[in-house]
Symmetry: C2
Subunit: 220 residues, 2 copies
């Protein structure tokens, strides 16, 4: 690998998994970890961890392992999580409410600070200490609070319009739970979570596992 | 590409997106679609679609486009969705309930037929026409109903034990919402959904977007 080479996206996507495992280790009172032990927790090899981290500098010492707290702090810095990222969540139906209340968002960096819904019956309700606003308030609130990240948990039919409103207001990164691919201008990043498409790709392998020439998918 | 070459996992993962778009097209009353139009709906090029499909045979005719219903049926066959896949869901807290009630599971192939929870207060409740059972019932029910796919929506601390029970009972594919990587024997596939790790990989790019040499991530 060349020095200063940009890390591939697949490496960037693994960093939050390393960080998550390091947080568990800290909770368990573990202060030092080898790349092998860390690797076992996320099903990658020790060599892969060392290669992944080498994109970002020098970490740990040969034969001594990593200082858990320090490596976590370094990865959080790389991920930009030492900054505060206010996040808007649009759609507080059952899924949106589950997301709003999700403990995982109590970690560093990400904070859901604004909730929106189109249903007047939900506007004004308080979920996880945040008051639900009308979707008409999206542009004003996004701008006032300098929100650049959003989670979309609205029905598929509403997702494109909500996305347009968010992008117009300055949102640059969207996590989309709506089961539809949305169009965004360049410089806006969208990632998707749809359990159905994930399960539908797994049936492909299950349906074939008795074939003579099975194609085993990677566990990621 | 060689004839008969196995499709890479990334191609298998795109097939459910094609199928989802084709279902929307059918709902909209569209019966014929070009690879370009289909590609625009999921942000891939027409050439990519043709290449992806070429792993599985001949589809459509040059210059005529695809018959929406027929292509959908063919992709569902490839994905194994013409079979019925009974699915167990473990953990019916707020997230699990949202998943159990998710309309997306009303499509072909996947059906959540069994719900389990460790909380006695939830056992016996009915969610989306399925009665919640005690987790002690997992082995019996999984075997009786020949369930090979499961969704895990329990807290991180419980995920490995639940996974072990599922695997012992014969489950081969697991969609894991718990924010932890679980260990499984070879021949069992696990995929993960964790919004926090997704958002944490997006902050990496947002934190760098004013760098002179930005690494733009792909929109997937």
């Amino acid at each position: 690998m060349e020095r200063g080479e940009l890390p591939p996206d697949v490496v960037v996507r693994r960093l939050p998994l390393y960080a998550r495992s390091l947080r568990y280790l800290l909770q368990e009172g573990v202060h030092s970890v080898s790349s092998q032990e860390l690797g076992e927790r996320i099903n990658v090899t020790a060599a892969q961890i060392r290669k992944d981290l080498s994109y970002f500098g020098e970490f740990g010492k040969q034969g001594i392992g990593y200082d858990v707290e320090r490596l976590l702090q370094q990865i959080e810095e790389i991920l930009g999580l030492t900054q505060d990222w206010p996040v808007a969540l649009i759609g507080v139906g059952q899924l949106g409410q589950a997301v709003a209340r999700y403990d995982g968002f109590r970690t560093k960096g990400i904070h859901i600070v604004a909730l929106f819904d189109s249903d007047p019956a939900r506007v004004g309700q308080e979920i996880a200490d945040v008051v639900v606003q009308s979707i008409d308030q999206i542009p004003t609130t996004i701008r006032e609070r300098s929100i650049r990240m959003a989670i979309v948990a609205v029905p598929a039919l509403a997702a494109q319009e909500v996305t347009n409103t968010l992008v117009d207001a300055g949102v640059r990164a969207i996590l989309n739970y709506a089961p539809i691919v949305v169009q965004v201008p360049e410089g806006v990043w969208v990632r998707y979570i749809d359990p159905v498409t994930v399960l539908h790709s797994m049936t492909y392998y299950l349906a074939r596992e008795h074939d003579t020439d099975p194609a085993l998918p990677p566990n990621d």
